[in-house]
Structure formats: C-alpha cells, structure tokens
C-alpha cells in the first residue's frame, strides 16, 4: 500500500524538464502575442498619420514656399519614399526614441513625453493603490454577508461608478472640496514655488521631494494628488469590488467551502482563509486590468485637474492639431496599456494553482 501511494505522488507530478519546456513555450506564445500587439499599435498610429490631411512638409515650409522648397522638404521628411519604406523609417525612429518634432512647440516630442509620462504614472499608481485597497475590502465585506447592507451598498456604488462621467465627477469634487469646503488644494501638480525649486531625478514628485529631504514639498505634492487620485480611484473601485465579489461568490458555492464549514469554519474564516486564496490570482488580474482603465481615465482627469501628464499633453496637442505630438502620445499611452494588459495576462497564467508546483 505505502509504495503504491508514494508512486501516486510522483505520477501526478510532471517531470521537471517537461514542465520547463511547457512553460517556456507558453512564455514564447505570450511574448509573441505581446510583440505582435505592439506592432499592430505601430501600424495603427502610422496609418493614422498617413490618413491625416495635415502634411508635415507643408507645415514645415509654410503655404507660400516655392514648389522646389516644398519638394525638398518632402524629400527631407522621406515623404517621397514608398509607404513600406516610410513605415520602416517610422518604426526605426520610434525604436530609437525619435517621435519627431512638435509642430506647436518645436521641441523634441520624446523629451516632452519623458517629462509628462511620470506625472501620469504617479497619478495612476496612487489611484490604483487607493482603488485596489478599498475595492478588494468592499468585495470581501460583501461576501462576508451576502445580500447584507454592505453588499447592497456595493451594488449601488458600482452601478453609479460604472455610469458617472469621470470628468464631471472631477469637476464636482473640485467644486465641493476645493472651492466650497477648502479641504483640498486646487488643480495642478505642485504649488508654483515648489514647481520651480524641485530637482527632478525620477520625474515622480513624491519620490523626488523625499529624495531631496524636502518635507514641505512632499506634503504639497501629496496634497495635490489626493483629489484627482480619489476621483480616478472611485472609477476603479466599482469594477474591482464588483469583480472581487463575483469571484468570491463563485467560490462560496463550491464543495471545499462546504467541507470547511463542516470543519467548523465561520463565515470570516471561509471568506478570508478558504475562498480568498483561490481568487487571489483573479484579483491580481482584475487590478492589473483596472490599471489600464485608469491610464485611460487619467486623460480626462488630467484635463479637469490641470495635471501636467500625458493625457493633458495629448488633449492639448489635439486642440492645436499638433499631429506628431498626437501620434507620439497615443503610441506611448497605447504601449503602456498594451504592456499592462500583457502583464495581467501573464499573471493570470502564472497564478493558476495547477502550475504552482
């Protein structure tokens, strides 16, 4: 009997070598899909640039330039090349961090993007920390008492959260907490004084102020973050709490939960100790997907809160029809979105308990 049983252990464990090969193949497929998606994004932004009625050469030389000057500009931009060559040049440029020159500011777009991107990431990261904490807590609380008070409130909150236009919510929050109650500071990322004294290292205001040991500036940065991050977080809470709840409820109907109840588990022990470990992977995926949603939501939030991030950069570029800036910003937001999506996908695969041996 005993030899029989111990062989059963090894029989269900696949040989290490095969597991490595399997996971290597799965990783290759994942990475291939990721690259393909990024490539697709490049195709789309390139095609958008082609479709655009705006002519970079004409923009450069002006409408009154002679035909020869105009043709020279076209040649310099590579616009006289066949489209596949132009695409290759475009991809080559992007890979080398060359997004072109802004039409409105005549600055390098990659430098602009490097400056505004950390502001967006900082906002979204703080928001996802708020949102995930509150969202997961709400999901757990409603599973502790199905159809109870918290559960019903959650249903309402998530319905409103799905339905509220975030730019309008941001305006109302500014109106209430800044203009009326004076609890929060106004729009912007930093007070003017801090703005010009801060030394940027990472581009993240919270980190750079701490780095400099400038406590007052750190508090200022945090104070400016609270309102926009809360608005963005609310946007995420609806989805995170609701999907966490749904995942937990699905577990609560399973046999192992009944078995644990039969061993004397309370509802708290069931939810926290039995069901949650099984949905942890799903919850990580939910949070990662919500982060992509926040990246998009940040575009609208930044516009309302005058937050000098990627979203406001994009909307400002749209306003003045600054084509290279629009395409560059779209590409960077799109690539971040695609990357987070891919990471969420990979996490889902990694956290599958059957692969965790």
């Amino acid at each position: 009997m005993s030899s029989n049983a111990s062989s059963a252990i090894t029989a269900t464990r696949r040989p290490l070598g095969r597991r490595v090969v399997d996971s290597g193949r799965a990783f290759a497929v994942w990475f291939g899909t990721f690259l393909l998606t990024l490539f697709g994004l490049l195709v789309i932004t390139f095609a958008l640039g082609l479709t655009s009625a705006a002519d970079p050469a004409l923009h450069r030389v002006g409408e009154h330039a002679s035909e020869a000057v105009y043709q020279q500009a076209r040649h310099n931009f590579g616009l006289d090349q066949p489209i596949p060559v132009r695409f290759a040049n475009y991809v080559w440029g992007v890979l080398h961090g060359d997004f072109g020159i802004s039409w409105s500011s005549s600055r390098s777009i990659s430098e602009d993007l490097a400056r505004v991107f950390p502001a967006t990431v900082e906002l979204a990261v703080v928001a996802i920390i708020f949102g995930a904490t509150i969202g997961i807590a709400l999901g757990l609380a409603s599973a502790l008492k199905p159809r109870g008070l918290v559960d019903n409130i959650l249903r309402l909150v998530s319905l409103v959260g799905y339905s509220v236009p975030i730019f309008w919510l941001g305006l109302l929050m500014l109106l209430i907490f800044y203009a009326t109650l004076h609890w929060a500071v106004g729009p912007g990322r930093l007070d003017d004084i801090v703005q010009y004294t801060i030394t940027w290292h990472t581009g993240f205001a919270l980190i750079d102020t701490l780095w400099a040991g400038d406590w007052a500036s750190f508090v200022d940065a945090l104070a400016h973050l609270v309102l926009p991050a809360s608005v963005l977080a609310f946007y995420a809470i609806a989805g995170i709490s609701r999907l966490t709840r749904a995942a937990l409820f699905a577990e609560l109907g399973k046999d192992y939960v009944t078995a644990a109840r039969a061993r004397g588990a309370t509802q708290w022990q069931i939810v926290m100790g039995e069901a949650f470990p099984n949905v942890a992977g799903v919850v990580v995926t939910i949070v990662a997907l919500s982060f992509t949603v926040l990246l998009e939501g940040a575009i609208l939030t930044e516009t309302v809160f005058a937050w000098p991030g990627l979203g406001r950069y994009l909307t400002a570029a749209i306003f003045v029809a600054d084509m290279p800036a629009i395409l560059g910003a779209t590409l960077v937001i799109g690539a971040s979105f695609v990357t987070v999506n891919a990471i969420a996908d990979l996490l889902t695969k990694l956290i599958d308990p059957r692969l965790r041996t």
């Binding site: 899909t33 393909l36 998606t37 697709g40 994004l41 789309i44 932004t45 958008l48 640039g49 479709t51 655009s52 009625a53 199905p146 159809r147 249903r155 319905l159 409103v160 799905y162 339905s163 509220v164 236009p165 975030i166 730019f167 309008w168 305006l171 109302l172 500014l174 109106l175 203009a179 946007y235 609806a238 989805g239 999907l243 749904a246 409820f249 699905a250 109907g253 919500s290 949603v293 990246l295 998009e296 575009i299 609208l300 516009t303 309302v304 994009l314 909307t315 570029a317 749209i318 306003f319 084509m323 629009i326 395409l327 779209t330 937001i333 799109g334 979105f337 695609v338 999506n341 891919a342």
Partner: protein, 291 residues
C-alpha cells in the same frame, strides 16, 4: 474602455439567452432601466415639443442665470436655456449610440461567425487579430482617430467602432463554433443549403440573441465614451447641444455658476445609468451562479 467592458467580457452569455430575455421583466433593476431608456427615447423624439425654448437661440442679456421659474435649469454663457439644450442633447447621444452599434455589431458578427464557422487557420488569424485589437486602449485611439479625421458625430462613431467590435466577434465565434458541430446544421447542409445562405439564414439567427444581450452590456460605456469625446471638443460641433461639450463649457464657470456644468453631467449619468441598470439586470439573469 470602461470597467463595465471588463466585466462584460467576463460575463458569459450563452444559449440560455432566449429564456433570459423573457425573464428580463422579472428583474427590478432591468425594469427601471427599461423605463428610463423609454423616457430617454421619448424625450429625444419629442424634443421640439418638450423643450420650452430654442436650444441654440442666444440671449446675451440673460447669460448664466441661476435656475428659476422661467429657466428651470438656468442659462449658459450665451444665455441659452439649459433645460432645452439638455432635452435636445438626448439626440446626439442616442444617435451616436445607435451608429456605433449599427457598425460594430455587424463587423463583430461577420468576423466571429466566419472565424467560428470556418475553423482552421482562418479562425486562428481572425481571432488573433481580434485579440490584438481588443488589447488596444479604446478611448485613446478614438481620440487620435477623431483628432486626425476631424470631429463630428459620424467620425466619433467610427472611432468607437474601430475598437468596439472585438467583444462581439469573440462571442459570435464561440457560438458559431458550437453550431458548426450541431446536427441541425448537418441537416441543413444535406438539404443543399450552403454558403452565405447557410451562414446568414441559419447560423446568424442563432447567434444574434446573445450578441444583442452582449451589446446591451456595453451601452452605458458607449454613452460615457461619446460624452468624453464631446467633453474634449471632438464630438458633435457647436452650436448643436451635446452633453459632454456642455459640461466642457461649464468648466470655465464651475466655481461661480456650477449648474452650467452640473446639469448636463447629471444627464450623462442618468442616461448611462439607465443602460447599466438594464445590463445589471441582464447579468443577474444570465449568471448561472445566481443565488
């Protein structure tokens, strides 16, 4: 594009959808949603009758008036009646919604049915393409698209369609693949029905009900996306009243005449909520684990 989409993507709508449609009215949230949607449609249809004023008539002497008996929701920066503008604002919102669905659903169905029904490498290529498009950020691409093609109702709808169809394609593929294996289809093929007639006469009717339900889950999100485009100045152009653009107008005076932004935003919230209530009811009915 919204969290609702993520949730919708995780909600399986399946063959039980016919039965579900019947029990929609048994759900309280769905019923409230349907009533609100009916009111919205009625408002849009009867806008000229319901609106007390001309929505684009400017009156410089009556700018930014607070809500009163004459102007229930006050007036905007051009002295236009807010209530009338909000009533007329149902039209571009619902119109855009209809346009987006009218384009993205057929694309999704064609791609999905072709993939699921053909199988093999066609299916693999189509579905990989679908997955890739699904991984794109919808609002950002829509912004770029409209920024380049020019603002307006049709371009906004096209932009949202561009990234909106993959969810329907995925669902249609799953169902078409299941139908491909079924006996009744073999019978139809033996009866000499082939090609487009088989796909659209026999497969489409079976795939359609759950596709429609899948669309219903997205409607609230589309309303919000459309409003966002309007807010950024990329939607229907002035002076046509559009809710998102109206909120944007109100931004300049938010601290002094807050109602100019608050009222159209509330209209967006109510419209989106109406569709999300319906979706919520549908999701409850479709969830096999419902207690």
């Amino acid at each position: 594009m919204t969290l609702a989409n993520i949730e919708a993507a995780t909600t399986q709508t399946s063959a039980s959808s016919r039965r579900a449609l019947r029990s929609v009215l048994a759900s309280k949230t769905a019923t409230i949603g349907i009533i609100l949607i009916a009111l919205l449609l009625l408002t849009a249809a009867l806008a000229p009758v319901l609106a007390p004023y001309d929505p684009i008539a400017q009156d410089i002497n009556n700018r930014l008036l607070p809500p009163s008996d004459a102007h229930w929701l006050g007036t905007d920066g051009f002295g236009r009646d807010m209530l009338s503008r909000i009533i007329f604002g149902t039209r571009p919102s619902l119109g855009l919604l209809a346009l987006v669905i009218a384009t993205s659903l057929p694309i999704g169905l064609i791609v999905g049915i072709s993939a699921g029904f053909t199988g093999g490498w066609v299916e693999r290529v189509l579905m990989r393409f679908t997955d890739i498009v699904m991984a794109f950020p919808q609002l950002v691409l829509a912004l770029a698209f409209v920024a380049i093609l020019g603002p307006g109702l049709v371009n906004s709808a096209l932009a949202l369609t561009l990234t909106g169809w993959p969810a329907y394609a995925r669902q249609a593929r799953t169902e078409a693949a299941a139908i491909r294996q079924s006996d009744f289809l073999a019978a139809a093929q033996m009866g000499g029905i082939r090609g487009a007639r088989l796909l659209f006469g026999h497969v489409l009717p079976l795939v359609l009900p759950s596709a429609i339900i899948r669309v219903a889950l997205d409607l609230g999100g589309i309303i919000l996306a459309a409003a966002a485009l309007g807010f950024l100045g990329l939607g229907v152009q002035p002076p046509t009243p559009e809710w998102g653009a109206m909120v944007s107008d109100g931004t300049k005076v938010i601290f002094d005449q807050w109602w100019v932004a608050a009222a159209p935003g509330a209209a967006i919230l109510i419209a989106s909520l109406a569709f999300n209530l319906l979706a919520d009811g549908l999701r409850d009915i479709l969830d096999p684990r419902r207690d």
